[in-house]
């Protein structure tokens, strides 16, 4: 059972709006950089970067960040797969916008902040997420949100990017009780 939350055209508009908000909030756009959290944040970071380039007239660098080594539940579950971390620009002094698809407990973001700290010292870190589904377990909030979506714990938000072989649609899945 699944409900469509964002269909492709709405998804594209949502991303364009987020890019405008990021540009507006950061007048020193030359210092901007996007860092997509593996795996769901990578495609969104790429889309935001393309949209920002259209708005700002200059490219905005994109990095990839894997947070598996920084998770707080290692040892309580099977070891997670590692994915590449690729940040080819210096983080020091930058305004870094961390990007993820779904904001849930906040634990991934906590891990991402630690991972980022080990890679450099950005001047400022902001958070952009496509969907904020609530249920935070840590004092973390997003600066840019595509869609706020109250959910129950039995639901799952499923984002399928065309970059990953999907159909650019965000759906809500009901998990079996």
């Amino acid at each position: 059972m699944s409900d469509v939350l964002l269909e492709p055209r709405v998804l594209q508009r949502t991303i364009a709006r987020m890019a405008h908000e990021i540009a507006e909030r950061n007048p020193q756009s030359g210092d901007l950089a996007l860092v997509g959290i593996q795996k769901g944040g990578v495609a969104l970071a790429g889309r935001l970067s393309a949209a920002l380039e259209r708005i700002l007239g200059h490219p905005v660098p994109v990095g990839l960040l894997d947070v598996a080594m920084y998770r707080d539940d290692l040892g309580q579950r099977a070891a997670p797969a590692l994915m590449p971390t690729e940040i080819s620009f210096p983080l020091d002094g930058r305004i870094v916008v961390l990007v993820d698809d779904v904001l849930f407990s906040g634990r991934t973001i906590r891990a991402a902040l630690d991972a980022l700290t080990d890679l450099g010292r950005p001047r400022r870190v902001q958070l952009a997420v496509l969907v904020d589904r609530g249920h935070r377990e840590l004092p973390i909030r997003a600066d840019f949100v595509g869609k706020n979506l109250p959910t129950s714990l039995r639901q799952r938000v499923d984002v399928r990017w065309t970059e990953d072989g999907g159909d650019d649609t965000v759906r809500m899945l009901e998990m079996p009780a």
């Binding site: 894997d66 598996a68 080594m69 920084y70 290692l74 040892g75 309580q76 579950r77 099977a78 070891a79 997670p80 797969a81 590692l82 994915m83 590449p84 971390t85 630690d114 080990d118 890679l119 450099g120």
Partner: protein
């Protein structure tokens, strides 16, 4: 593929998927070693014991640094300076270490099967760091990792392992990793150290005593150290004779494929199994193996650390 084992005792029992998972994970950790801050918190609060009943420096240092870079606490326990000298059994030693809440025991032991024995009663994760002439799993993994990173694949490659095969746990771990991942392995050396029966281990294994034949179209040549300390009989007349018959000299190395890799687990005996010019030449990846060893050991610790409470106390 998720990692389900509690211990790493050998490579013979690992599937191609398990081997590949370790190599993929190691790639992530190699990138950590290239950063400014080379430490991650993955094993924070965990205790790793290096229990080296047989002496070793480089493997111990590599495991120690791997554990430290994962933020674990490390205790080094060597036979020379320990209660084992005073007559304590291995089992009692390990029980004492576990009473200190050690979560990982990395065992180097002269007896084949010692890690297996330990895993039968230990609550800690056991990692085999070399047991007798049986296996040295992390060496086999780091060699496979080095080959895969350099050549882009392992499947279909021709790998020659040259030297003391009979007494070598490195050879055995290499053989299992390579054949499981689809390479063809040629074993070469003096007939006294390379018995024909090795061909019975796996259909992809070939034994030859003809060095020219072993080197001709090899994609990788892995040289093994002549282990004076493990030699129980005289397998060849002299070191000089070994060097002249089987040493990788510059003229022999020149007949290798130009893109072939030259590997050695170290410590190298310059002028014996490998000439200095060859060891330091552009085809040699000997120091890269050392760097990769660290990444592979971090990967093994990281994967074994995963698991659920319900798994505790079960083997493997």
């Amino acid at each position: 593929m998720t990692w389900m084992r509690r211990h790493l005792l050998d490579l013979q029992s690992l599937s191609a998927e398990e081997l590949t998972l370790i190599l993929d994970t190691a790639r992530g950790f190699r990138a950590v070693g290239e950063r400014n801050i080379k430490k991650v918190p993955a094993l924070r609060g965990k205790t790793v014991v290096n229990l080296f009943v047989e002496p070793s420096t480089r493997t111990r240092i590599s495991f120690e640094l791997a554990a430290l870079r994962l933020s674990a606490d490390v205790i080094n326990f060597t036979a020379e300076a320990s209660s084992l000298k005073k007559g304590e059994t291995l089992k009692d030693t390990v029980r004492n270490l576990e009473a200190l809440n050690a979560e990982f025991i990395i065992l180097r032991h002269g007896a084949s099967g010692a890690p297996q024995f330990l895993s039968q009663f230990a609550r800690a994760h056991v990692i085999n760091a070399g047991d007798g002439a049986h296996e040295h799993p992390t060496q086999g993994l780091l060699d496979a990792f080095t080959i895969r990173e350099r050549m882009g694949r392992i499947e279909g490659l021709k790998v020659t392992i040259l030297g003391d095969i009979l007494y070598s746990r490195v050879a055995r771990s290499n053989i299992w990793a390579l054949v499981t991942l689809g390479a063809r392995v040629t074993l070469c050396g003096p007939s006294t150290l390379v018995p024909k029966v090795f061909e019975q281990l796996h259909p992809s294994i070939r034994v030859t005593w003809d060095l020219e034949d072993a080197l001709r179209d090899a994609d990788v040549v892995n040289l093994l150290r002549i282990q004076h300390e493990r030699q129980r009989m005289s397998a060849f007349p002299s070191i000089g004779e070994y060097a002249s018959l089987f040493g990788l000299t510059p003229p022999r190395a020149a007949r290798l494929r130009p893109d072939a890799l030259i590997m050695h687990p170290g410590p190298i005996n310059r002028g014996v199994e490998i000439a200095s010019e060859v060891a330091d030449g552009h085809q040699s990846v000997i120091l890269e193996q050392v760097t990769n060893g660290l990444a592979v050991r971090m990967a093994v610790l990281f994967l074994l650390n995963g698991g659920r409470q319900s798994d505790l106390g079960t083997t493997p």
